[in-house]
């Protein structure tokens, strides 16, 4: 069993708190550009977490995860999103959403409890895995918040950021327990995120071209009569 110093655990906990705060920012921010900046901040927190864990667990693979995360999510994905949304990301300040911010925060709190109680029975079985008690619940909560953001927002760029914070959550949770993805899986994961971002970005551009906006809340023609 690897022993980790309390200082490293404190740093990891602080990074997790930062990760959560940025996630909340993505979820409740009413400005598209601010939401994008919160996502970039969260991706930096994920990078930091991977670096902390790499150092504490002496795992080189996590250094790769940190590098891949930084390049794809802090640099490439925001560039794609700015390109996809065009002027609208600067011009339009308010993002439509189905619930007001106080109600959204309340629902987010409920999701946090659900996430915690879902992971709680698993944690005792991971007693010999350092950081699992910090990263795994945080990751699952972020996956739930991301799903909630997708459901909440009526704006394609904001919905895409919901998807991306879900992915951040999945990786934040798993870096504590999986440090040894095979090389091929790591390469594939590194390629996957930019491809997904690029294709969704292209789709957002098509929506903007055809409907004149990146709002998807107005796209509601398809349903049973």
């Amino acid at each position: 069993m690897i022993t980790v110093s309390p200082i490293m655990l404190s740093i990891a906990g602080s990074v997790a708190a930062l990760f959560v705060v940025f996630g909340l920012g993505v979820m409740v921010s009413r400005q598209m550009l601010a939401s994008l900046r919160f996502f970039m901040g969260q991706s930096v927190a994920l990078t930091l977490s991977a670096l902390v864990l790499a150092d504490a667990l002496h795992t080189v693979n996590l250094l790769w995860v940190a590098l891949i995360t930084f390049v794809t999510k802090v640099i490439a994905v925001p560039l794609v999103l700015r390109w996809a949304a065009g002027e609208e990301i600067y011009g339009r300040r308010e993002v439509d959403q189905a619930l007001e911010i106080p109600a959204s925060v309340l629902v987010a709190a409920v999701f946090a409890l659900v996430g915690w109680f879902a992971v709680a029975p698993v944690l005792p079985t991971l007693h010999d895995v350092p950081f699992a008690a910090i990263n795994l619940p945080t990751g699952l909560i972020m996956v739930l918040w991301g799903a909630f953001t997708v459901a909440l927002r009526r704006e394609s760029v904001a919905q895409m950021m919901g998807l991306l914070i879900m992915e951040n959550g999945a990786f934040f949770g798993s870096i504590a327990i999986v440090h040894n993805l095979t090389v091929i899986a790591e390469i594939a994961a590194a390629v996957d995120v930019p491809i997904v971002a690029l294709v969704i970005g292209l789709l957002i551009r098509s929506i903007r071209r055809v409907t004149g906006s990146t709002r998807v809340g107005t796209l509601d023609k398809l349903h049973e009569h």
């Binding site: 698993v122 990751g139 789709l203 998807v216 049973e224």
Partner: protein
């Protein structure tokens, strides 16, 4: 004979097809059909090898194909071939229907994407690593999004967006489950493969395995179209070209279901997980029941077949729960036959849409009098997908229900029977209205009979062959493969 190269070659051929289609616009359809045909031959050859010599592996453990994977590979490659052939004339006819002065269809956009889409579906049963399977499933959404939005209208983009948002959301949820299983297999000293998972499962922490499964059920359930995560499916199918619907409905939704089926024995062998079948039966019955009632009130015949897909995914999940995989191979056969049958239904529906210029059931009457070939194809396809004899799905559904009743699971099997009957009545009622009703003279005036594209007709005829034959006769090697696949889902605990 060295067969290690077969799995890699199966993936390489569609990739070459995509690149050639991208390089040459005029020949794009023909390169694609050729690539799909070669892939079909290679898939048959791979399945043959698996049947004769056991699982195939290659490239230092990167690939692994067993009987269940081979049985999934066959409909995927077959539908890839027929859908590519069908699309040549169908896309042209759709273009003419919408704008007679338009240039030829955007083959250069369609065919490269279709080849890459097929490639990633084919990768699901071929790759050995669980994380790579997840990536392949996620990429199916990414590469098919623009196929769904091919017609570039607001409705098509709406459908594509819903599809991407919901299924990607599901994929992210499933990702955490995949990585948890990665940890579980690694902790038990096993590789993150199906075999590794089965070996590790009895020793894995039950809460961890259960949480990973629940994340899979929600995540992959969204891709499979399980209720209530199904809403993207009817929308995407109503807007996508019929050739895309054939692949989406016939084999793409089954890719995620394939993952849910394969994790089932791992749950059963874990001593800490009680009654995993209940999860499958509950999720399956909710899905079948909802789809059956939606079929009654559906107004669009492509949406009708989409709801039928949701129904089938629910039947397969329920069947797995009630144990039909083990006792009678009903689950496996249903998964296998669904791919062939559903693609045939969408081929017929696509041509009906071209003939009438609409997909609204209320506006489509007397299809048989307008086009006997398409009319009868629609009727036969509907009967086949609804589970009428003598088609393959009748056999599988009969076996599933027989297993349920004979093992004393009266409530769940009774409910499944009732939902299948409701869906059968709804489907056949809608199809007979479309095929035999009196044609509206005004409608006939506004949409003069359109010539049915020969390539599409040929694809429909080819697609009908397995639909018909597998109801009467399953070649002995296939029977053996079905048995082998059922054994993989068999639970020793």
């Amino acid at each position: 004979m060295n067969t290690e190269w077969l799995p890699a070659l199966i993936l390489l051929v569609p990739l070459c097809g995509a690149l050639l289609a991208l390089a040459n616009r005029r020949s794009a359809p023909y390169f694609s059909v050729l690539a799909a045909f070669i892939t079909l031959l290679l898939a048959i050859s791979a399945a043959w090898q698996v049947e004769a010599h056991g699982p195939l592996s290659g490239s230092d453990g990167l690939f692994y194909l067993d009987a269940l994977g081979a049985l999934y590979l066959l409909p995927v490659s077959f539908v890839y071939f027929t859908a590519s052939l069908y699309a040549i004339g169908y896309l042209w006819a759709r273009q003419q229907e919408q704008d007679k002065d338009a240039a030829e269809p955007r083959y250069r956009q369609y065919f490269p994407l279709m080849n890459v889409f097929a490639l990633v579906i084919l990768a699901v049963p071929l790759v050995a690593n669980l994380a790579l399977m997840w990536i392949a499933i996620e990429l199916t959404t990414v590469f098919s999004a623009f196929l769904v939005a091919y017609e570039d209208r607001a409705e098509a983009l709406e459908a594509a967006w819903k599809y991407v948002a919901l299924t990607s959301m599901g994929a992210m949820i499933a990702l955490l489950g995949v990585l948890m299983l990665y940890y579980g297999t690694h902790a038990a000293g096993q590789a993150p493969t199906w075999d590794g998972l089965m070996t590790a499962a009895p020793h894995m922490s039950a809460p961890l395995l259960l949480l990973a499964f629940v994340l899979w059920l929600i995540g992959f359930g969204a891709k499979t179209g399980l209720v209530p995560m199904h809403t993207w499916l009817p929308d995407a199918h109503s807007q996508a070209p019929a050739s895309v619907c054939a692949v989406l409905s016939g084999v793409e939704t089954s890719a995620a279901l394939y993952m849910l089926l394969r994790i089932y024995p791992a749950l059963v062998v874990n001593p800490g997980i009680h009654d995993p079948a209940a999860w499958y039966i509950t999720a399956g019955l909710i899905t079948v029941g909802s789809a059956a009632f939606m079929l009654i009130q559906v107004h669009d015949f492509k949406r009708m077949f989409a709801y039928s897909t949701i129904e089938h995914m629910g039947i397969i999940l329920t069947a797995c729960g009630i144990g039909a995989a083990v006792h009678e191979q009903g689950t496996i056969y249903q998964l296998f036959a669904h791919g062939f049958t559903k693609s045939f239904c969408f081929f017929a529906a696509g041509l009906a849409g071209i003939i009438f210029g609409t997909q609204e059931i209320v506006k489509v009457r007397g299809l048989i009098s307008r086009s006997p070939a398409v009319g009868w194809a629609l009727i036969l396809g509907t009967l086949a997908i609804a589970g009428a004899p003598p088609f393959a799905l009748f056999l599988s559904e009969f076996e599933i229900l027989d297993t349920g009743y004979s093992s004393g699971q009266y409530l769940s099997t009774g409910l499944l029977t009732a939902f299948i009957v409701i869906a059968f009545i709804a489907l056949t009622y809608q199809a007979t209205r479309i095929a035999f009703g009196t044609p509206d003279p005004a409608q006939e005036h506004t949409s003069p009979a359109m010539k049915i594209p020969r390539s599409s007709l040929a694809a429909m005829v080819i697609a009908f062959v397995p639909v018909l034959i597998f109801g009467f006769y399953l070649p002995p090697p296939l029977v053996h493969l079905v048995h082998e696949a059922a054994q993989l889902l068999e639970v020793q605990g």
